[in-house]
């Protein structure tokens, strides 16, 4: 394996982790969506680079799907949605940037330690890619846990999916079917959650999930 190719792959995967960390401290929804679109673009680049390096032409298709669906269609749709909901100027107060960033850094360190220890005998190329992918997954989960707004949780979920795609393309010979299904699952999740958001909105006048807890007669 060419050293330059390895470096570029690592550079792209590392950027993906970096952008995931950037997602953590976006407290305005439009900015969050923009960063998410940026993450998707980097993912598309990374997948395309893998396609070039591995000589697997079907991965180009995955990259195109990622670019079109995750970087363009979903962010644009979500932008329109938050505008129609009238929450595009709201500032999410629940997140506490300092501790969240520290937790995120801890997660990245943890995943690097875990993966490097567990996959001692694995292919070098896949190994560090997997570490980055696990970081992205964990950061996405962290976002789902720390955010209250339904839209931010959707973004967290899709960021998690991005991590999965990174892992899937990093490993050689992953069948194309898997990526298709992953892409579709994200699309379906997006549609379902979109419809769900409007439902919540209609009923409670807010997309703050805490309101649903109040409705269940519980208080935090």
């Amino acid at each position: 394996m060419d050293k330059l190719a390895l470096d570029i792959a690592h550079f792209l995967a590392g950027s993906l982790v970096l952008v995931s960390l950037m997602l953590l401290y976006q407290d305005r929804l439009p900015a969050l969506l923009n960063v998410f679109a940026f993450q998707a673009i980097i993912l598309a680049l990374s997948v395309a680079w893998q396609a070039y390096v591995q000589g697997a032409s079907d991965l180009y298709l995955t990259a195109a799907i990622t670019l079109s669906v995750k970087a363009i269609i979903i962010p644009v749709a979500l932008h329109r949605m938050i505008r129609r909901l009238g929450i595009h100027r709201e500032v999410e107060t629940a997140i506490n940037i300092g501790p969240t960033m520290l937790a995120g850094l801890g997660l990245v360190a943890l995943s690097v330690v875990v993966i490097l220890r567990v996959t001692v005998n694995a292919d070098v190329f896949a190994r560090e890619d997997l570490a980055f992918a696990l970081s992205v997954v964990l950061l996405g989960m962290l976002m789902m846990v720390t955010r209250r707004n339904a839209v931010s949780q959707v973004v967290g979920f899709m960021s998690l999916e991005n991590g999965l795609i990174l892992a899937a393309t990093g490993a050689k010979g992953m069948p194309f079917v898997v990526e298709i299904s992953v892409a579709f699952s994200v699309l379906i999740a997006f549609i379902v959650i979109g419809i769900f958001l409007f439902r919540i909105r209609e009923r409670f006048d807010t997309v703050d999930l805490e309101a649903m807890d109040d409705f269940r007669g519980e208080s935090r």
Binding site: S111, L138, L142, M144, V145, E218
Partner: protein
């Protein structure tokens, strides 16, 4: 047909049982449904019994094996038929034949046949399957199907509060037992997943874990067999089922549990260490004594029988413990005597306990009563049932010339060999266990004198008892077959011992000396100079002396026979309540032994002179094991359930956080592992 492998036939039998069970579902409510269902079970059990017997008698060391592509794909379902399985197949299917035959008659009175008929063949199939299973997965699956089918049968009359409680306790204990077995097999299989018995047999227990596996096996099979303190479900569940099912559960299912223990401890666990015997002996002895003491305190006749089952299981485990002790020291001849005694008693107990449960079922049919305080005088009204119940009682009390004596005598012979053991711990323990065994045997005799005397002798204590009638002929036929088998096994023990020998050979590696060659059908377990027993001689002596006595009385007695009312101490028309009752019969033993075993408390209220109200005697009996072991456990479970209940009502975000936290913890463990 002769070129069929016995194992294939047996598997087909199990399938036939399952098909019968399926057929029974749609026709369960029809009044004639018991004929095809019990008829089919009778036939199938008969075939299975015959094939088991054929394999046993052939004395071949050949084990039939087969693997069916069922169950987990990379394991498959292994089945194996060796002499040990064959012996237990005979015991179980003999019980199945008897119970099916009895069910043909008894089933007429069943109020909810649609709840019994589908599960009865399924129960038989489950038990047969356990005996043939040769990998952990199949074994546990059949074990569970046996438990579930019997649970459904216990719940037949679920309208009664007591039966629901019995079912609940039973299913909880059954799950616990299966969990223990699951862990035992998991440890045996090791990280490589060698779930087939053949692999386990080759590898033995992982080093250092043999004791743990033995403990788990004792817990798992003991909870099904009814070892103290895991016996609490047994006296609740066995009487709750219809009587022929009670007979199957008490006489037969407990034997499947014993098979499981033998298979694990003697066959799969590898080389036996002498100290394994210590827990088995202690638990067995305590079970025997506590079981029979509890039986003496009971008033419900089916409960007496259930507690007596616990006692007999204790005896069998004592014999198995002896075998472990001898085998662990390389004294294979002595071990063979102990195992033969255990297996002989397995057969005997299945015979007479089924007989007694059938008798109790006949009493229940005739009177609608299970409480002995409401029975009495049944011998005049149901003479045949009474006689057969008497045979069962004599057999279970271990009186010669019946079969109970032969097997318990063999057990004591094995105990008398214990001074030859090198370990002082065993030298001191085994005589103490022997004393407990003798105590249990004596108490068992008292218990069945009480059970028979109060129920069948004296005068009827209730209108139901005085209006009782003899039961139908099919029920009596089923009981008679078992009674005759009890007698035959007692008179000709040598034949049984030789028939059991291949099973003993497979687990111990040696067998008792051939008995059928010895003159006059005596049995000589070790040497002529030590001890011998001749059931036939004892039988002839008893028969001759009894007929001589009868003849002498009738010959020599005065011919001037006059029938008159018994002298009534000046109280004409004495109430039947002035007879000995079940409680008053048990009182001396209750006072002597109940104090520490049950914390019995008697309170006597005598009214002052001039006050016409009746005197009262209030007896409180505590079940200490339930109060000290199970009640704290139940409280603990309730408190934990209360705490964990909060987890049901969290927000989505908290659930996500829990999952996330769990993942992080697992990753941290993984990171710090290597």
């Amino acid at each position: 047909m002769t070129n069929w492998a016995p194992l294939d036939v047996l598997l087909w039998c199990i399938l036939a049982h399952l098909v019968t069970s399926g057929v029974a579902i749609p026709i369960g409510r029809v009044s004639w449904a018991r004929w095809p269902v019990y008829g089919a079970s009778l036939l199938i059990s008969g075939v299975a019994c015959a094939y088991g017997l054929m394999h046993l008698i052939a004395q071949s060391s050949v084990a039939w094996e087969t693997v069916l592509p069922l169950g987990l794909p990379w394991i498959g379902a292994h089945f194996r038929l060796d002499a040990l399985s064959a012996f237990f197949l005979v015991v179980i299917n003999l019980g199945g034949v008897a119970a099916s035959l009895y069910g043909l008659g008894y089933g007429r009175h069943e109020s909810a046949p649609e709840r019994v008929l589908p599960f009865f063949p399924m129960f038989l199939a489950g038990m047969n399957l356990v005996l043939l299973a040769a990998d952990a997965f199949t074994f546990l699956l059949s074990w569970e199907s046996m438990s579930l089918a019997s649970w459904a049968l216990v719940m037949t009359h679920h309208q009664e509060e007591g039966n629901r409680k019995a079912g609940y306790v039973y299913i909880a204990m059954a799950s616990f037992g299966t969990l223990a077995l699951l862990l035992a097999f998991g440890l045996m299989a090791g990280p490589d997943g060698g779930y087939a018995f053949a692999t386990m047999r080759a590898d033995g227990a992982p080093s250092g874990l043999a004791g743990l596996v033995l403990g788990l096996a004792l817990l798992g099979t003991g909870s099904k067999a009814g070892l103290v303190p895991l016996h609490v479900w047994l006296p609740l569940a066995h009487p709750a089922a219809p009587s022929h099912v009670s007979a199957l559960m008490s006489g037969v299912m407990t034997k499947v549990a014993i098979y499981g223990f033998i298979r694990l401890a003697f066959d799969l666990l590898g080389p036996i260490s002498w100290w394994w015997a210590v827990p088995v002996l202690i638990v067995g002895a305590v079970t025997a004594v506590l079981g029979v003491l509890s039986a003496l305190m009971q008033n419900d006749i089916k409960r007496v029988l259930a507690y007596s089952t616990i006692e007999n299981i204790g005896l069998i485990f004592v014999a198995l413990g002896l075998a472990l002790a001898f085998q662990g020291n390389g004294m294979t001849a002595a071990a063979a005597v102990a195992v033969t005694a255990a297996l002989f008693h397995v057969l005997n107990h299945s015979l007479f306990k089924s007989l007694l449960f059938f008798g109790a079922g006949a009493v229940l049919t005739a009177t609608g009563e299970r409480a002995m305080e409401n029975l009495g005088g049944l011998l005049n009204r149901m003479p045949t049932t009474g006689l057969l119940f008497l045979v069962g009682s004599v057999a279970i009390s271990a009186l010669p010339p019946l079969n109970g004596f032969a097997s318990e005598w063999l057990m004591l012979q094995a105990i008398l060999l214990s001074p030859e053991l090198p370990q002082w711990a065993l030298k001191l323990l085994i005589p103490a266990v022997g004393a407990m065994l003798a105590l249990a045997a004596a108490l068992a005799a008292a218990c069945f004198v009480r059970a028979f005397g109060i129920s069948f002798l004296g005068r009827p204590r209730s209108a139901a008892a005085s209006n009782a009638h003899e039961v139908d002929r099919i029920s009596i036929a089923a009981m008679s077959i078992l009674a005759v088998l009890c007698l035959l096994a007692g008179i000709f023990p040598a034949i049984i011992i030789d028939a059991v020998a291949p099973a003993v050979q497979t687990i111990i590696g040696t067998r008792m000396p051939v008995q059928t060659d010895i003159a006059w059908l005596s049995i000589v377990p070790i040497a002529e100079s030590r001890s011998s027993y001749n059931g036939l001689l004892v039988f002839i002596f008893i028969a001759a002396s009894a007929s001589l006595a009868v003849f002498a009385i009738h010959w020599l007695a005065s011919a001037k026979l006059r029938r008159a009312p018994a002298w009534d101490c000046g109280f004409p028309d004495g109430s039947p309540a002035t007879q000995y009752t079940a409680d008053s019969f048990a009182q001396p033993l209750r006072r002597v032994l109940g104090g520490f075993a049950f914390r019995v408390h008697e309170e006597i209220h005598v009214p002052l002179p001039g006050n016409g109200s009746p005197a009262r005697l209030i007896v409180t009996v505590h079940d200490l094991i339930w109060e000290w072991l199970y009640e704290p456990l139940i409280r603990l479970v309730n408190v934990l359930a209360e705490r964990l209940n909060h987890l049901q009502f969290l927000t989505i975000r908290r659930y996500l956080s829990l999952v996330f936290g769990e993942l992080i913890i697992l990753l941290l463990i993984l990171a710090s592992w290597t």
